[in-house]
Symmetry: C2
Amino acid sequence: MVTRAVLLDLDGTLVDSVFQHVVAWDAALSGGGYEVPLWRIHTGIGMGSERLVPWLLGGYPENLDALSKAHERAFLDHAGELRPTNGALALLDDLERREVPFHIATSATEAVRKALLGALGREDLPTTDADAVDSSKPAPDLLLAGCDALGADPTDMTLVGDSPWDAEAARRVDIRCIALRCGGFGDDRLRGAGAFAVEDDPLALVGRL
Amino acid sequence: MVTRAVLLDLDGTLVDSVFQHVVAWDAALSGGGYEVPLWRIHTGIGMGSERLVPWLLGGYPENLDALSKAHERAFLDHAGELRPTNGALALLDDLERREVPFHIATSATEAVRKALLGALGREDLPTTDADAVDSSKPAPDLLLAGCDALGADPTDMTLVGDSPWDAEAARRVDIRCIALRCGGFGDDRLRGAGAFAVEDDPLALVGRL
């Protein structure tokens, strides 16, 4: 596996946070009077709030901002329980040691992004979050911002993600996507969205990117 | 779809509880000093505690009972937030109206089973739980107990479940399994475990069993 530069997703890829997001969105949506099955919420994780909520509700609610804030609060209430995914810190060390350029591209808001980096103990990592671009995944804006930050062409990049939305965003701009199972998405959905390889978790990629 | 009698799973199939189980197991295992990735916990949901914990930890821990109790407490703390899956109540009504014999077979403990039936508002439903048999799914004990309760032969039964463990238990005793996506398991895993059909949720089965 030869890679010039690496883009990394954060939620579900480096931090074991997807199931907490599902439960936090359930609390936010229920509080707003919407009942959405939790498996449907799960299938939307990886998009930013501004895409996830209309996708789940079938249209833009008037209280989109309030729902997003309620989700953020519910998620941050349990931020102390977050852990890195298996091998996340080892993969970051490995990339740094071998001087592989990398950048984190996340659909999280700035506040959630900070909590996630805190769970890694790596607030220093180079990151672009959803608050810094017009549109979150599966739009490619975050990935292109990461390419710009690294001064690299999309076709020289590999994205490591965990959701079909990562794979779809990457496919739109000819970035290879390696998808990880540790976000809880099935192989068929990850490959169907365009992932060219599927592995369990970051540990499987140490020494290989 | 002609069916003589129906076995129904409860967690994830009639009640939207799988993601809460994942988070409750994470709390119990973390509290016991074990760090298990949440996607791995998710893949084990559907087994009873006595099978799930050794499967996740690679062996029987001395404190298995304490871990199971901690999970039960963490889960029951949020039992008030549980909702039926989409169409669960309609499917139960449909089976009763058309006089299709059915029985619920669940890997839940008695306390969790009561909370789940409470979330349905149907404490009267005929049910066999894990506390009533020697071994939970994927062992077929619960399904065979359900057949006995209905006086029906396994080959005349259809099980409606949501997890690969339901499908595997059914396959072992030649019961057809219809698997639902509403527990968050992927089509490939459900079919791989032996499900002969996959649908979104109970609503898809109303009028068809």
